[in-house]
Amino acid sequence: MDGFAVLESLQGMPGAPLAIVITAHGDMAKAVRAMRAGAYDFIAKPFDATTVQLVVKRALETRGLKTQVHSLRKELGRKHLWVRGADPGMARIAETVERIAPSTATVLLLGETGTGKEVIARAIHLKSTRCEQPFVAVNCAALKGELLESELFGHEKGAFTGADRARPGRVEAARGGTLFLDEIGELPLNLQAKLLRLLQEKEYERLGSDRTQRADIRLVAATNRDLPAAIQTGAFREDLYYRLKVISIKIPPLRERPSDILALAEWLLGQHAAESTRIPPRLSAEVRQALLRYSWPGNVRELSNVMERCVLLAGDTVGLCDLPEELMAGDAAAPGPVGKVEDLFALDYNAAVTAARRLIVAKALEQAGGHQTRAAERLGVTQPYLSRLVKQLGIRRDE
């Protein structure tokens, strides 16, 4: 394969490296052809060290700028605006983000799943002096063992089975920017030690390499786990915990900030409508009440999914029939448990439906001896769905 075939192949490769072509003395025709084929520049033989240095330096600067532009375009393409509702707790978080963003301090974000930890991590990045460099997110629960280590720190060729080439890791990809480690509580102990060294010494090695690399990242980590409890069981390093929580921000679940629900719902409705190039539908009074009555176990992510569904299903106005079943019926925030079927007739429709669901689920759990998988089988639903119902309906173990 000659140099022109390589240049042609590089043209069709997303994120391809730049190419500099070395030509024979006086072969200007080849140089022109190479530039037309997509080469960044050329070096004619015989070359001296200074020429090589200058051309390579210029190419790498261009490459760096291209990477930054690509990264910024990706950032802009994502919906990660800093949405502030009426809740005073969230207003305090917004103030904290403003204050700490310009520093390089490590931040630990705590909160239930779906509360918007990554949105806040991105807000910290975008308000920091590193905002023009990449924001790189890694979910520590998504990969295990060598794959996670390789994803974070990179690997050399042959470092493990299937590593047929060297690859940089996410720490390297985040150079100059922010590395967001989601679900940090799931990080295995051996990688916790390496992360601690990365934070303390700013040093790491690629998997399969002895050569130490320098890191230049700001770390933002997030978890919904109780890390102090994980320390007690030996699943999380105490020294790493204290390194991570230089600044700690606890994001409240949506049910604890009901004053934000409608503002967020309308904002998300507008976002999803814009994506579908539609006019956002209005929320009817009944729907507003249903949104406020629901306990949102999936938090803002669940609200976003419901609003996306409303944009797709509703006409000009979102009615109760456009909502998922669990919202139509209300949930644990409404009536308490009823003992027998006859009691249902004393309730209004929505309360009766919710009470009936509680009764059915509680009975199935009782018959299954509290075993959720068996109860789910009995009811003909999946175990995760049953688990969600148990949480939404506020069913206790002793019920």
């Binding site: 394969m1 075939a5 390589v6 590089l10 391809a16 190419a19 060290a49």
Partner: protein
């Protein structure tokens, strides 16, 4: 530190460039043909060929 591949079928040219680029602080590697260079292309910043 940037990662650079030098693809040149002349080992002496490849070695000289690799050593020079390493001196400049880059992670440089020499390969003998374009196929090998393309195989490594998605993990490098620059190819000299």
């Amino acid at each position: 530190m940037s990662r650079i591949i030098i693809a040149d079928d002349d080992p002496s040219i490849g070695r000289i460039l690799r050593d020079r680029l390493k001196e400049l602080g880059h992670d440089a590697e020499h390969v003998l043909d374009g196929v090998e260079a393309l195989r490594l292309a998605d993990s490098v910043d620059l190819i000299l060929l």
